[in-house]
Symmetry: C2
Subunit: 398 residues, 2 copies
């Protein structure tokens, strides 16, 4: 343990999650308390994950953070809130414990290196995975256990949902101090083994309004958001939990699409209005509805967050066919070798009548690639490799 | 009067109106009773109008209708409803009157010719002007006076608002028979002489979902529309009436934009979702907000109906500058001679700082032309010319 005393190191990975009942709007900006509960699916880390190494050492002179190899300012209030909270819990735990759990470590500075295996800020919820990973790593480093979603929430609201695998509900909570605004697992990732997720990563167009600023304006100006939070979401949440428990894709898919649309409707009801959907999103939405209409049931269900990428849920037996529909609708700009990534997808040929009914005017190059994934577990700890060298500096640089 | 007996002819013109508190959704599909009240500005007929000639003759063997020179089926239920209602009122009036008002005419068949001075179904509310014109012409032909907006409503809901000039409210009404679902003038067209209207007629893209089908789906599926109709609109309507009475452009403009956005939000909350706004609409919306932000107040206010054209309100002293901003943002595809139509627009040169702050990446050819108009009066009767010849057939053919 002597080496660990010199440089205590923890490496952790954490997942992205995608909300099917959307979070949009805070009732407390500082504590990051939402105006409504939300529900998400944690995506598998084999395809999308953040990896974070946190190290503490008596030799470090300041807290430092590297994101994808580049040092960033640790002064960000939300980052500081997470650091402060984990350290507070560690002190509290030490105070109530008889074990000697590295008593000195709390006075050490930390070095943190974090990397995504996907493009940052591509609308793939990197901050959720990032803060979940940071809090998990710090908590392990300081020997803190128990309810940590509350701490992750202080980094980024939706990060609390990345603290658990499978199907996760973020309870709005009632307390002004936010102690009951936490994540709870509705069902583990093993609950619905046939469920699959396609992320359609689209080209171009940077996010115009960040979600923090956007949701604040929505809370201030949208009468429809208020009604959604107070009346619509509580009903939908109960319904969604039931659909998930019953593995009812028809119900799950319909409600997922409806809730995505309603979230974007409240963005449009914001003043000045916020648009995250563009003409390509409309194409994808129309495509999904034509596909479902052709099959006479809900085979695919789209959801869009505060960015242009589409996330599409379906059961495993639909993947090959729908991937081919996407390939025909948005022919890859290049040779298409890397068009489908992630879990394997078998080849499918489309019946003529499906082609005629579903695929309209192809838009070449509009979809960069498709990522095929599925629900996955929460944060995982790794013994090795870690992102910091023995010197406490990142092994790789950008 | 002997000739009139042989061929009674009436020619009428009627205006287009643009709603600033939107109508979307019926509580009775047959009677066309709305789920909420709405409020519109009647546009001047010098720029946009429908002209209708209605003739009755003992020589006609059937009711016939020509739209822009082409004969169309008179069997349409809404057209029949209007014909039936005007004839019913005429019978009622004759029954209660001592005058001899062409007693035979009610048994005659009618020929109707109607023309728009703008493209039909271009999202310029042609059905509103059309039914207002039809009902006005038929009523005069049959000597019916009094409350006719109720009859026009049976043709097309928003047509009832085209029965009056200036600023017009369509009362939702409470009665199941619709007798109190009528149009009322909030203020005449002379009330706000500085108010101007630009219609940005955009290129391409046909309406995807007709408004009749669209609003029915919205009523059936959108929880936000229900809330809008029950809670939001009553508050907004009172506020809008006040802004108009006070000629408060800041208030009028803000609320006009907010209500347009909320209407489109409810379309997006419809399932499957309905999109009437496209990327060009988003461009125009963003342009208006940048223009207002640059001036530090609401100088222009957009509103969009169930189609891609933008209607933009402003005061007269803003027209020249904003037209130049539109010309710079959407440079005309051709030489631009016909780019600005309607009321004259003086030339304006834009200050550099306005250009830099407001005009971003021009999109050539996206706006076909700008129509400059203003609030105007309700239906007008003409002695001459009329659209039907002495033979009771259209003078012009398509």
């Amino acid at each position: 343990m002597s080496e660990e005393r010199a440089l205590a190191v923890v490496t952790c990975t954490a997942p992205v999650n995608i909300a099917v009942i959307k979070y949009w709007g805070k009732r407390d900006n500082d504590l990051i308390l939402p105006i409504n509960s939300s529900l998400s699916v944690t995506l598998h880390q084999d395809q999308l994950k953040t990896t974070t190494t946190a190290a503490a050492s008596r030799d470090f002179t300041e807290d430092r953070l590297w994101l994808n190899g580049e040092e960033v300012d640790v002064g960000h209030p939300r980052l500081q809130a997470c650091l402060r909270e984990v350290r507070r819990l560690a002190r509290k735990r030490r105070g109530s414990s008889t074990e000697d759990t590295a008593p000195l470590i709390l006075s050490y500075k930390v070095h943190i290196a974090t990397e995504n295996n996907f493009p940052t800020a591509a609308g793939l919820a990197s901050s959720a995975a990032g803060y979940a990973c940071l809090v998990s790593a710090l908590a392990r480093l300081y020997g803190v256990e128990g309810e940590l979603s509350e701490v992750a929430r202080r980094g980024s609201g939706s990060a609390c949902r990345s603290m658990l695998g499978g199907f996760v509900q973020w309870q709005r909570g009632e307390r002004p101090d936010g102690r009951d605004s936490i994540a709870q697992q509705v069902a583990p990732e093993t609950h619905w083994p046939e469920l699959r997720v396609l992320v359609l990563v689209v080209s171009g167009e940077k996010k115009q309004v960040g979600s923090t600023a956007g949701m604040q304006t929505s809370v201030d100006t949208s009468p429809l958001l208020k009604h959604r939070a107070e009346v619509v979401v509580p009903e939908r949440l109960a319904l969604m939990v039931r659909h998930i428990r019953e593995r009812d894709f028809e119900g799950f898919g319909q409600l997922t699409m409806q809730d995505s649309n309603q979230f974007h409707a409240t963005c449009l009801d914001t003043f000045p209005p916020i648009f995250y959907l563009n003409d390509l999103s409309r194409h994808i939405i129309a495509l999904a509805h034509r596909f479902n209409a052709h099959h006479g049931c809900t085979k695919v269900a789209y959801t869009f967050d505060a960015g242009p990428n589409a996330v599409i849920f379906m059961l495993a037996d639909t993947v090959a066919e729908f991937v081919e529909v996407v390939r025909r609708s948005f022919p890859p700009a290049t040779n298409g070798d890397q068009f489908v990534r992630g879990l394997p997808v078998s080849a499918a040929s489309l019946p003529e009548e499906l082609l005629a009914a579903v695929v309209a005017e192809p838009v070449p190059g509009a979809v960069q690639y498709i990522l095929h994934t599925k629900p996955g577990p929460g944060p995982q700890f790794l013994d090795d490799p870690n992102l910091l060298g023995a010197d406490g500096l990142p092994r790789r640089t950008a």
